[in-house]
């Protein structure tokens, strides 16, 4: 087995939930972390906690994504060896009530941004012949639910992107993975907490992060492209 230990990671779409857990987990494994979000100010506490840098970036804007990576190229960390694409946007409700502009925005943030970030990431990784990119999917990546067409469109598209990138870039040494988060993530602020008698019924973001870490550390002889994480009590 190889013993590749990535040294740097960029987490796009960083906030307080899963992305923060991934950042802590990756930092704990020795990676230097850069966080990117539209609003970088909110990331200060996390940055201080784990010694990460934060950069502002709208992932659906080609120019901003290009600038983000250029900024990293010029930084002490250099281009990231691991990239996680996490952003999503969604509008739900009866299809007849959906506003077309919101549907377009869902596609842009959830899927097109993944292309923009993925393209910049592989541009740097291809020369080195190694790297890892993880795309965060959802139940909607593989099942189009009623009254949630835009999110299904965005997450299906992101999965199509991930598959295509895997087929193009894995033979170049870049590990591409897609994680289907098939359940609600524990989030006290949003009230997503376990009900009595149903412990661990929400995904613990720290537990998900362990699986992200396992993925990016896998030996290239045995890469996982796709897996799902799901609470033990989740119906599927």
């Amino acid at each position: 087995m190889n013993s590749w230990k990535p040294a740097t990671a960029l987490i796009v779409g960083a906030g307080s939930g899963l992305s923060a857990s991934i950042a802590r987990c990756f930092a704990g494994a020795g990676m230097k972390i850069t966080l990117a979000a539209r609003n970088a100010d909110k990331l200060k506490p996390l940055c201080e906690e784990i010694g990460a840098a934060a950069l502002a970036c709208d992932a659906s804007d080609a120019g901003e994504v290009e600038a983000l990576f250029a900024s990293l190229d010029a930084s002490a960390n250099g281009a990231p060896e691991v990239v996680v694409y996490n952003p999503s946007y969604r509008v739900r409700g009866p299809l007849l009530e959906l506003v077309p502009q919101e549907v377009a925005r869902t596609l842009m943030v959830t899927a097109f941004g993944g292309f923009l970030v993925g393209q910049q990431a592989v541009r740097r990784m291809a020369d080195k012949g190694r790297g890892a990119i993880v795309f965060t999917g959802a139940s909607a990546s593989v099942k189009g639910y009623a009254r949630s067409a835009p999110f299904a469109m965005g997450k299906f598209a992101l999965r199509g992107l991930a598959q295509s990138m895997a087929r193009e870039f894995q033979p170049a040494g870049i590990h591409i993975a897609h994680v289907n988060i098939d359940g609600g993530i524990r989030n006290e602020a949003r009230g997503s907490i376990d009900k009595p008698g149903r412990p661990d019924s929400f995904l613990d973001p720290d537990a998900i992060a362990q699986t992200y870490l396992h993925l990016v550390m896998q030996d290239r002889s045995a890469w996982t492209f796709e897996l799902e994480v799901r609470p033990w009590l989740e119906t599927f």
Copy 2:
């Protein structure tokens, strides 16, 4: 069994290939056909041949799609009982060479237009409690090929839309179907013709049209949401 015979059909993304065969096949089954395309002029010969009307429409433009359906509402045919969404756009090549705007356009034409047309279509069908919408997919709907990420993104997204619409609207009597065209369609103009010793190795558009017709005529007790059509000699 019911004996629903749809009287009218709208084919969006009409041109000279599959869409023309569908138009002829549906007309042969007694439906009055409206064809929509960005350039409606090119549709004149087909319109004359099968007694169809042609309307100009950019399917990725919300206003134009709304106008298209308003125009049909006011026409002798009225709102269509069957709608086929056929448009796609694609840009291929090494991911590192892709121009972001072209990727966005692929998403808009291939998937977002499907939402716009689907929304207008069900708005009319929901009141009557019946109708059928068929989305034209491709191999790329379920497999992201290397060097073809944009098309995979668009076609995966369209499939997610179709699934979501099926779950929301089939219980309202509207049949939603997704057809995976898994192979090349015979097209002399493009040189897509059988090689010696390999007869019928391209999909005959008239044969595909027969399957579209079967779908839209199915009894509501036994609807097919998804199927693929593939030449006998195609590797899969």
Copy 3:
């Protein structure tokens, strides 16, 4: 398009439900029908109605399946151009209560019998370079439900067989199809009838039969390997 019209069909696992509807539908399209079942006596009324022959055969017994086809070879109809494999057996309940022998029997009838019949069928079709074999699947073909492991095992296995046969024999001109019957079939004797306010909530076997007929008549340039049929009100 070709205009292949199959002249003969063998329906294995014939009884009073779907198989009878398929037999009537195929007979109505001009095919001479042979029905096979473990108990051929019960098939007499149907045979008289549609002018079919009935033969006794346990589809999970290699010798009996071989004898069935030998008998057809020697008959006026000759080897069948179309074969439908319909039998299944299932045992349900909590996994801990399942009797191993019943699980083995489920595999044998539902899947192994499909191999036996499929092997004999293609042996005859391969020389002519044409033919069609349809395997009857179920929701359990693609989803393993709790407390129904044996049926999932059998129907998953049958689908694997169908895929493998499609890849081996479609280039030899033999159309292989797998139909996922995703819902309950209307059956008055079993009490599977629509509840008030939910018309057509069970699959009409005559409607399913129309789709089987469409499949076996498809042009070889545009074969469908797999589709599902599902009532409009079915949750999925």
Copy 4:
């Protein structure tokens, strides 16, 4: 997160390849290992190396599987907290040349044995409300290749079993996982070794074992049911 550390593991279908790597990896993580195989004698060197016990068992024989678990119940290790089902048998070649008995045997060893072992395993785990069972799949679990129908039947069936067991037993605290080994495993004895210029083109069994270990250690709030492992150079 919980911090469940399983103490004991049973590996059924143990030999010199993947199963040996799993045994070493699990032993390295502190588990006491029992190995089961039809021929237990060949396991002696591995047993000595990692302090494991070996028991003889034909996994497709209900009585032998029952005896295996009874023997474990009475042993110092007790009933296993983790079980890996690894056996498979296959016969390949043109479908027309396959011997029915060999096809049946493929189903029995590859899938029915998984049921027998799974049933005995959950019988012990259900009371404790925890445990993990991993089923070893293959490319053939999700794709039926030409000239390999029996293996597809067996591996598809095993996957159906795994899904059904996951839906029934995960809410009881038992983690069920299915691993699709999508490539050839490095094996010098069989000549499965990398060609010049294609390093790591075979799956390193020790790398696969790391992923098995990750699976059985996952927190119950974020279980993975299914993943695949595939060499970076593998076409898919």
